[in-house]
């Protein structure tokens, strides 16, 4: 049953083909057997998951089931989970057990889903390879010498390795889409404000957004139906009405206008990856879509702009980790200053410290106008580029990443080349737009992701296009060899 989609599993549960307890047990067994290869989970929630599964079975027995009742879901270890350690991939929160659930978790629980465990991630979501995790890197099921991408690398690896039917991730600059692309799964970053940020450990508040990661667009739609919606406890969450994201999946693509930004197909894009993308676009064209070449003129400024704004916000979001109230505290501090400096020196990893330094610098008196303020101005221009394009087209398409997954260690000593990994994904966060990645082929056995970018709150359209593509292709159904072992 681990090869089934969420939609199929939900049907199986409702038809009593198997119980949620059996299903959950099966995934727990697979995690035990196979996750030694992937290191995709930081915490497995075995006992509580089985309890929740039994509760779900009782609901199913009386016919009181929702779309996700009894479905095991893995959550990125950035979502606070009541009673379950939430480390955020950091030593700083190695011992942190939240007394509350993130709104996203609360919604999954209310929908009857089973919390399978917490997945590996780059420390505080800062990274594109999962190598900055304090708990060791997660590995790519397609080739365990490769990175799974980041920061939601654990979620992507868990889904690709069939250790969970679906997972959640967060995306601040590509952290759902890039690992989805690297691991050959489907991932959606919703519009900023579509999903509540409450209870998600903050990285960059104006960019962070949670979304679903699964095998198919249909499964992502099922999850988004649970996740999306206004939260009065998150002031930045939107009051724009949600829709049933499953309802329009089958809509025709006839007349759809797809924009292809020249900047996403130029220098820096791996040739074979580019061919995969072009083939995917031909498929969409065959279904009635029109391809329109256009330009996002400020694309070159995306990386510097992002790497001012995100670290600036992160530098202050991470100030609360001071060893005073919770989390890591250094041994025997001599005084207050020693408590602060050693706690943070020992509790944070290199990449996190680098970004705190960069962000602190960008906000400092005398530099604020030149960096942070300027970056915010450019951010508006980048957003305007997209708005201009959406006058002409319905969605924008291109590669999710410049190339497929790279080897562990290949870029870990070169932050700049690592940052370049996100060149096609960052602008979407800066503009607050919804974006998704779906499997579109392979380069030497490594998955390639097609990125789709939509208008604000047009998630339904992205999912519709992705679903129609997946009805005509089977890239998303491929299973890595490493996942074929294990039980069931």
């Amino acid at each position: 049953m681990h090869t089934k989609s969420v939609a199929q599993l939900a049907k199986g549960l409702r038809e009593r083909q198997f119980s949620s307890a059996e299903l959950t047990r099966a995934y727990l067994d697979r995690i035990t057997t196979l996750d030694t290869q992937y290191n995709s989970f930081i915490t497995v929630n075995e006992a509580a998951a089985l309890e929740a599964a039994e509760a779900a079975d009782r609901s199913l027995a009386v016919g009181n089931a929702n779309a996700l009742t009894g479905i095991p879901i893995a959550h990125k270890d950035i979502f606070c989970t009541e009673g379950v350690r939430t480390s955020c991939g950091s030593r700083m929160l190695e011992n942190f057990i939240p007394p509350y659930d993130a709104t996203v978790i609360e919604r999954f629980k209310a929908a009857g889903a089973v919390l399978l465990g917490k997945t590996n991630m780059d420390e505080f979501a800062m990274g594109s390879s999962n190598e900055s995790s304090f708990y060791g890197p997660a590995r790519n099921p397609w080739n365990t010498d490769l990175v799974p991408g980041g920061s939601s690398g654990g979620s992507a690896a868990a889904v690709a390795g069939l250790l969970a039917p679906a997972a959640t991730g967060t995306d601040t600059g590509g952290s759902i889409r890039q690992p989805a692309a690297f691991c050959g799964i489907t991932g959606l970053k919703p519009t900023y404000g579509r999903v509540s940020r409450l209870g998600i450990v903050a990285f960059a508040s104006s960019l962070d957004q949670a979304g679903p990661m699964a095998h198919s667009a249909e499964d992502c739609a099922l999850l988004l139906n649970i996740m999306a919606g206004h939260d009065p406890l998150d002031s930045t969450s939107s009051t724009v009405a949600t829709q049933d994201y499953c309802a329009t999946l089958d809509d025709s693509l006839e007349g759809l206008r797809i924009g292809l930004p020249a900047e996403y197909f130029g220098e820096g894009l791996d040739v074979t990856t580019g061919e995969c993308i072009n083939n995917a676009l031909k498929e969409l064209e065959a279904q009635g879509a029109t391809l329109v070449e256009l330009s996002l003129p400020h694309s070159a400024l995306t990386i510097p702009t992002y790497y001012i704004i995100a670290p600036a916000e992160a530098s202050t979001n991470l100030s609360r980790f001071d060893g005073v109230r919770y989390g890591y505290r250094c041994e025997n501090p001599a005084d207050l200053h020693d408590l602060y400096s050693r706690t943070r020196q020992e509790g944070f990893g290199e990449e996190v410290k680098r970004r705190i330094l960069v962000g602190t610098y960008a906000l400092s008196a005398g530099y604020y106008d030149a960096y942070y303020k300027k970056a915010q101005q450019i951010r508006r221009l980048i957003k305007q580029d997209f708005m201009d394009c959406f006058e002409q087209v319905d969605i924008i398409a291109g590669p999710t990443a410049p190339g497929p997954a790279f080897a562990l260690g290949a870029k870990s000593n070169d932050p700049i080349s690592m940052y370049l990994e996100d060149v096609y994904t960052l602008a979407v966060n800066l503009a607050g737009l919804p974006g998704m990645s779906l499997p579109a082929g392979f380069v030497e056995g490594k998955p390639v992701g097609l990125q789709l970018i939509g208008r604000h709150f047009d998630e339904a359209r992205l999912l519709n296009v992705a679903h129609r593509f997946q009805q005509a292709t089977d890239w998303h159904l491929s299973t890595p060899d490493s996942a074929k072992g294990g039980s069931l």
């Binding site: 409450l198 406890l233 002031s235 930045t236 109230r325």
Partner: protein, 480 residues
């Protein structure tokens, strides 16, 4: 050299909202440490602020109360610094887009003169928690009950010229905010905390000197003392040819001195930037107007009405309009007895005197305004003398009942029976033949004194119950 003192005040006013500015925790004072701190107040991971609308409403009320510009769009910013009682490592405040812009209000000095003090701005922010340095064996305890309490920081222009003006400003501010009902103004509980910016310049000079900021001065008296002390310290330095260092100083009330805070405690680059977890606060004219309509009569308006309507002098009007309960009390007394001037006198002298001696407040006064009005009516209708009334008031204060009951029970009715008084006057005059002769031989000035003597004798014989006016009239007739 003659120095002019230039003072600007920053007042941190605690707003009287039921819950905190960004969380649902209670703001009640005096709870057990950390019992009023939620996950938001503790800055637990993933927690987000949600703005308390009541705090915005109160800030707008204040702005309208000082005739200030209200910003239709104001922005919260993060002020970053590390301190154990600042859980997030930043304070949510407002930096360059505060909710209240320029305004002003009038302060009245004891000599009746008045001055207008400019308000630069007022902005919303959250309070920090408290560090407790005692009782923890060389450790510091943290109480986060206060963390997240809404504050309005009110910044004045450097328009204040003396300690007396500073105190008058604070009293006027206190009066205004309690009128508006936006703060309990309880200084002992830290509801109004004050930072004093002070510099000196030679009288006649137009340029400002270097200032020192004295932090956290928490009573009217300490403000006065701190300014006096700081004036002397700066004058001494300047007169010795020295220079004032721009710095933050702490007022030590126990030693009555200010001292420099270690530079480590103050040398901060706060790295202000817009708080990404909150949207800008956008309000419209309808909102502002609805608040304007709900404003009560303000102290300044009440003061001028008291002058116009009751013919009170500016000082009396100021004292009586100082707080809403006192003003209401006075107006009830005046209405009951029908004579505002006597009512004003009684409320200020007898009533406030008693309250001060008892260390009590008008809200807890054992004599109701109606009861005091009834007592004054008995003076006006000549049932008792003013002197008698004071005794009756004492009895009323002690809970012995209404004025009329006490007057009757004690037989204090004033004697206005002409025959009875006539007899006593005759007795006094015949018993004081020498003084009568003296009176007849004297000039006008001396006679006045002797009349006083005769009146005193009559009052003594009548046990104070003779109507003094009638006694005077009879004496005049008989001595003519």
């Amino acid at each position: 050299m003659q120095w002019e003192t230039i003072i600007g005040l920053e007042v941190h006013l605690q707003l009287a909202t039921k819950s905190k500015i960004f969380s649902g925790s209670s703001t009640t004072f005096g709870a057990e440490p950390n019992t009023q701190a939620s996950a938001v107040d503790l800055a637990m991971p993933g927690m987000l602020p949600v703005l308390n609308e009541q705090a915005v409403r109160y800030a707008v009320k204040f702005g309208l109360g000082i005739g200030a510009q209200i910003s239709k769009r104001s922005v919260f910013d993060r002020k970053n610094y590390f301190y154990p009682d600042l859980p997030k490592g930043y304070q949510i405040s407002q930096f360059d887009a505060p909710i209240v812009g320029k305004g002003s209000f009038e302060i009245l000095m004891e000599d009746g003169s008045s001055r207008t003090i400019g308000i630069t701005r007022a902005h919303l922010e959250e309070d920090a928690g408290k560090s407790l340095h005692e009782d923890f064996n060389d450790h510091t305890g943290i109480d986060l009950n206060r963390a997240g309490t809404p504050l309005l920081e009110i910044v004045s222009e450097p328009d204040i010229r003396s300690a007396a003006e500073a105190v008058a400003y604070l009293k006027a501010l206190h009066s205004l905010v309690t009128y508006l009902g936006i703060s309990d103004g309880n200084m002992a509980e830290g509801s109004m905390r004050c930072d004093v910016n002070i510099s000196l310049r030679p009288i006649g000079s137009k340029t400002l000197g270097t200032r020192a900021e004295i932090k956290n001065v928490n009573s009217f008296r300490f403000v006065e003392k701190a300014i006096h002390h700081e004036f002397q310290r700066q004058a001494d330095i300047l007169e010795d040819g020295g220079k004032i260092t721009q710095e933050t100083r702490l007022y030590d009330a126990d030693r009555d001195e200010t001292r420099s805070m270690r530079s480590k405690e103050v040398a901060n680059d706060y790295r202000y930037f817009p708080e990404p977890d909150l949207l800008p606060v956008v309000i419209d004219d309808i909102y502002i107007e609805s608040i304007r309509e709900s404003l009560p009569e303000l102290p300044v308006e009440k003061r001028s009405r008291f002058t116009a309507q009751y013919g009170l002098g500016p000082y009396d009007a100021n004292v009586l309009s100082d707080s809403r309960p006192l003003a209401d009390y006075f107006e009830t007394v005046a209405g009951e007895c029908g004579d505002a001037k006597i009512a004003a006198n009684w409320v200020q002298v007898e009533l406030l005197g008693q309250l001060n001696r008892a260390g009590s407040a008008i809200e807890k006064c054992p004599v109701s305004a109606t009861a005091l009005g009834a007592l004054i009516s008995r003076i006006l209708d000549k049932t008792i003398s003013g002197k008698m009334a004071k005794q009756v008031f004492e009895s009323m204060w002690n809970g012995e009942g209404a004025a009329d009951d006490i007057i009757e029970a004690r037989g204090l009715l004033q004697v206005s029976d002409t025959a009875a008084i006539d007899a006593i006057v005759d007795d006094v005059l015949s018993a004081s033949a020498a003084q009568v002769q003296q009176y007849l031989d004297s000039d006008e000035a001396k006679r006045k004194k002797l009349v006083g003597f005769f009146v005193g004798q009559v009052m003594k014989l009548s046990k104070g119950q003779a109507n003094p006016q009638m006694v005077n009239e009879l004496l005049a007739k008989k001595l003519a």
